[in-house]
Symmetry: C2
Subunit: 224 residues, 2 copies
Amino acid sequence: MTEKDKQTEDKIFDAATEVFIEKGMDGARMQDIADRAGMNKSLLHYYYRSKDRLFNAVFEMIAMKMLKKFAPVFDANVLFEDKIRFFFREHISFLQKNPRLPAFLLNEINRNPSRIKQFMANIDIESFWMILFTQHKEELKKYHITRENIPQVMTILVAITVFPFAARGLLKEILAKQNLKFDDFLEDRKTFAADFVISALQNMHLSTAEDESKTKNHDEKKRT
Amino acid sequence: MTEKDKQTEDKIFDAATEVFIEKGMDGARMQDIADRAGMNKSLLHYYYRSKDRLFNAVFEMIAMKMLKKFAPVFDANVLFEDKIRFFFREHISFLQKNPRLPAFLLNEINRNPSRIKQFMANIDIESFWMILFTQHKEELKKYHITRENIPQVMTILVAITVFPFAARGLLKEILAKQNLKFDDFLEDRKTFAADFVISALQNMHLSTAEDESKTKNHDEKKRT
DNA sequence: GTCTATAGAAGGATAGAC
DNA sequence: GTCTATCCTTCTATAGAC
């Protein structure tokens, strides 16, 4: 009965997803997964052969889920600035529903870099840049976004949304000391982050130009 | 011989630090640590009683090391803007020398939040804000930094420096596809990040005011 | 203080009955 | 396809000799 097969296999997969996210590959126990799925340990091996294969299945699903959440942001035919607002709103909302994904992924990637290597092999970053540059040629010029600094900019965008989740335990603690709630912080962040980034991009030329003349006792500029 | 004691204990501690950072608490093996320290496994227990205690010693040292790197940034008596530049330069330089610390700390904090709770118990965030607000009263007003948004701003600063290291494995892979080197990326980031943040802070009022009038088809504003 | 030897428990994996 | 029983390895931890 393929029907029943699928049911059991899915139950295992779901339970494994929960346990792996919670404890990581090294911390997770096959027994924990079996318990959570409400079945015998040996069934996990029957369906997935080994802990490693089961983990890989879970990891790949989660990595794909995250990746897919990034893509549609840059599909819609709207102003670049609106895309930025859209990105922060949608991505933080997604992570609010899946708060442990960032920490899980980052940890497992660092623990075993080869996993991400084979995953990234299928992903075409270059064409992503190309689409962006053709769709928003004029706007990107206005914002001083170039082929050279786009990794810096993109890494800032992702860092701003992902880091609070990766550092969730720590940040919660710090906020609590100020009588602030993590969830309120995130709600604020959806608009604050967008305003912050747009402001930076719109005025970076001002900042650096202004800086040159304004700071006299400022000898930290790059000496070439 | 207390001299010899200290020597052995330190050797264990150093080896444990390396192994724990590399493999994490769950992935690390006492045998690995003993091997790296060049001694017998039972000596680890003689000096540290258990794996858990050994890990706690290492964790606390590393957490303290990170924390201490944040503090002096806000000590010097210079312009707030220069502090931001100083922060990015110094902090990224520190992490270049210790690239695995962020991932290690973030992972272990999420894996066992109680650890950071007891660590944070001794840290006085409130007085840190107070010092900042008295030292830079006028500047903070100019930059529109308030008691309300300072967690947002600080989290952006830290995210920008820490995230690339937490996501090192992934970022290296992405950069490699563009024929870019992680280390060059970091060198650029020291100044780029500072320019970016200063630009954002200087002009956030512009961005949001401008935004109101400029975007007509922009119905995503917070509806209250 | 350092080593050898080993206890004791836990975990991944498989064989075999149903 | 699912369960019980068990193998085999690995790991933390300790006992005891030197």
